[in-house]
Symmetry: C2
Subunit: 611 residues, 2 copies
Amino acid sequence: MDERTERNELAAQLAVDSIRCSTAAGSGHPTSSMSAAHLLAVLYAGHLRYDVSEPRHPGGDRFVLSKGHASPLLFSTLKAIGAITDEQLLTFRRFGSPVEGHPVPLPDMPWIDVATGSLGQGLPIGLGMALGLRILERPGRVWVLMGDSETAEGSVWEAMENASYHGLDNLIAILDMNRLGQRGPTMLQWDGDAYARRAEAFGWHARVIDGHDVGAISEAYTEAEQTVGPCLIVAKTEKGHGVSFLANREGWHGKALNDEQAAKAIAELGGERSITITPLKPEPLTATEPRRSPGTLPSFDGPVATRKAFGDTLAAMAPTREDLVVLDAEVGNSTYTEEFDEAEPDRFVQFFIAEQAMIGAAVGLQAVGLTPYAATFGAFLSRAYDFTRMAAISRAHVRLSGSHAGVSIGEDGPSQMALEDLASFRAVDGSTVLYPADGASTAALVAEMADTDGIAYIRTTRESTPKLYDAEDAFPIGGSKVHGASGGDVATIVGAGITLIEALTAAETLRGEGTPVRVIDAYSIKPIDGETLRAALDATGLLVVVEDHRVEGGIGDAVLEAIAEGGRPLSGRVVKLGVSRMPSSGSPTELRDWAGISAGAIAEAVRAALG
Amino acid sequence: MDERTERNELAAQLAVDSIRCSTAAGSGHPTSSMSAAHLLAVLYAGHLRYDVSEPRHPGGDRFVLSKGHASPLLFSTLKAIGAITDEQLLTFRRFGSPVEGHPVPLPDMPWIDVATGSLGQGLPIGLGMALGLRILERPGRVWVLMGDSETAEGSVWEAMENASYHGLDNLIAILDMNRLGQRGPTMLQWDGDAYARRAEAFGWHARVIDGHDVGAISEAYTEAEQTVGPCLIVAKTEKGHGVSFLANREGWHGKALNDEQAAKAIAELGGERSITITPLKPEPLTATEPRRSPGTLPSFDGPVATRKAFGDTLAAMAPTREDLVVLDAEVGNSTYTEEFDEAEPDRFVQFFIAEQAMIGAAVGLQAVGLTPYAATFGAFLSRAYDFTRMAAISRAHVRLSGSHAGVSIGEDGPSQMALEDLASFRAVDGSTVLYPADGASTAALVAEMADTDGIAYIRTTRESTPKLYDAEDAFPIGGSKVHGASGGDVATIVGAGITLIEALTAAETLRGEGTPVRVIDAYSIKPIDGETLRAALDATGLLVVVEDHRVEGGIGDAVLEAIAEGGRPLSGRVVKLGVSRMPSSGSPTELRDWAGISAGAIAEAVRAALG
């Protein structure tokens, strides 16, 4: 059999298996798989350097299925390379099977690096992988298969502009231009030249080919491998290709064939096959792991802004934590990540104002073994919330920092204030949410985050705050610090970050009035130190929780959850203080007063509650 | 004085006033204002059709300052057209002043339509305004002033592609290409041709001009007014133009000048001026308000998916609510907004998979007086969370629907499951969060949303649910429904949407075992019916709250907040059931069982709590 026939046979098998597994499941996207069968057949049989027994081989390539709904095609390909069996393939979408509805990286599915299924995320992730491989000086390429519908997502263009800006030679995107989206034709249908013009305008090389011609595909892949700079291959394809009643027909998106339809389609495709292939070997290479020695953390003798302490700590860790990569969205002089840039410019990546690409790239960077920290204003991380949600599904270990939290930023006004960040990050699966109040606690937590699994978020403050702790103090995740507890306390004030400072002042005022109160620094909001909180409520009968955040979903709700944990009997009282109206411009002090979260307002709330 | 001199004088005044107000405030962005002074001088003096006494005149144009940090320029322009006084201008950024740090529409600032300050949102909003004016058959144009840094945001390209796809002749974007971002040069610096190529590839007309040449600016505006299709004017400018120590200098972003620097800069600009101008009159036109008669809502005799009931209701309202515009992100056959499309195609807008552009456009549509409903999978609304947050700051009235909520979607897996939506929407200022369980309650709430202020979110379910209510039943926002209450109830189960169905089954089982329980349908999650919940806790001593959502930030937290409201003494017990691990593919039933939110799991939780 000549190579062309071999590839076409393999493509037919991938199409048949895509139908078989989705029909067995009773759902899925066979037609979106069939359009790209030739594209993956040629890639895995002749271009992707891949060791199925060591999918993260340091000399290997990476593949990202950005159009995650074409999962039947990916799993059919994994069967063809011997990664999974036919029996496993047929467990597609079943409860308990790693052959999930959309690709998810799992311990028993090591051939998938990242989760996809929310469209427009594969290219930003691939961008991060390509950057990471370059940082690690590894030879592999990153191949991303995109759908045409998903190019409507702006995040694709964020990745495009950043890939060309950063001159990535090792990133190749393949566009499966099958003309049909979920509910009808795409915006550009089969106008391959229009896609190519867009990519070229964004600094990419682009070429339009027939996506069912295995010779043309292989030639385009070879050209892309040899090209300097990122390449887009626009492959004109048919959705449901190869089957008369599916090819280029509307109304078949996301529909499995019934048994009769499947039999007919499989017959048209020439029946079942059992071809196995071995991809090209990765370049022989022994992985050199980056050094991960803890460095000396900075210490702070006086007041410092926690955002500054964050930047100082990253810079201090830079030389000895060679796995760290810091990502900026054009605010490095505000978040102080510019200090890391000064220390290690080769491990600092500027994404300009493209938060989605930044978080997507962070997922890609950790998928090649690096440790990304991405930072911007907390308010603007909301731009990438879908990417954060998906990062959790990717089981990604990503460190995020949101600066300029709360009304305390002052004059810039509400558009720049992070007021929903704690709520949104708390709701992410397996997340860690931290909010230190001073320099020492920030340094400790920033360092701890480096080795924290999952999505770890640290919230920082614009203004300087006084020194509360020493460099020797420990701040375990899940812990808290109690200030000024005495046996006779009649109330507990719970704060974190800037409101801890206000709480400490309020407590002093109250003590001066003969009202003994304690203060808890809830620097770890998720997980929260429920034991200490419950003990304080039992001891004092009143918790006043104060946060520079919306009243919904933040520290107050985390405290209430801890109080109610396990359905334990409730007693005492909990007062939540937070931002409950729309703020305006003003000084930080004016705005905290207005919001009822200043020292004065806290003291008044305690007095009112104690009647 | 000839026109050129007049425009240059006005531009100098705008630059001077931008310096004056930011220096008075001690913060702000004078140099980002100065780069665009000529652009706004020519726009307001000779092109924008605008009645300062009636800024929403039906025959007028609209202006959006997408680079919201150039607020000093906007307020200086408002002074020049007589909208605000010089004294008001000098209250810039002060607490209590409507002259905020970034533009915000307020009752005493009616010359601003929408809030900006999170970059890359002005063009999507302008797109919505332009669509809205076309729908209303009004002659006005929409002018959007963008910064160059913000073109890195993918949302700009989502707006670009949709504006050309929808053939908008009434949208003109002006790019203030001043070369410098917050922390240094932009990605493309002064490569105006590169911007033009990108815009042209996205279907726009584009022209590069000298942004400080008032003649060239006016000519480009005139050309854009006469061009068919959307136009981008790339204006090469200098940040800090006109002042020797500011012009094109790094390190001046977001910095106010001190008094001495200001005096020197103002002297270089020729001193203070007191020019006033009158913009061109809007076309004489009397507004015809769209009809807003309530139609006949659909009724449902049997099971129906709430997503289907949502689409049915929109379609039923279509003919008599002429203000409704429905927006889709390429899933209209899943959210059933396609039914509205069939009924009123001229008021249905397809945004393809561009959720940010969709929500931005919704803000623009309501700013011209229409009533937008935007719908996609709940999971994918997370893509536009920053737009939703900013929509609240815009005081926008936007209706959102998220379908396919929770693990109950089943086989498609976690990437498609909305599990963080309740938490994120609850945290939005002034939001309303609804989650009906059957057809009748969905229809009632969808209709009610049409006249609800602020961000109103309705969550719907993929599967059919049984009929619970009649078309005559009322579902006021902030209310709830109690099922099967008796004096002897020993527990209350609180559910909403799909978990209400599970809760009702669990209650039946428990009653069969001799354990009387009541069930509360918390269809209104924000505001929640605290009174009914507190009464139920007092009466039964135990609330079991069950939600197909992450345990953080959703219904459980809303219930705890209501229980603790006002610091009232806590008693009884509250058990929260929700999704606390990462789901996989599986059947809806398997996944609800796995998550511990099925009827069986609820009954078991009640039994366990009752010991």
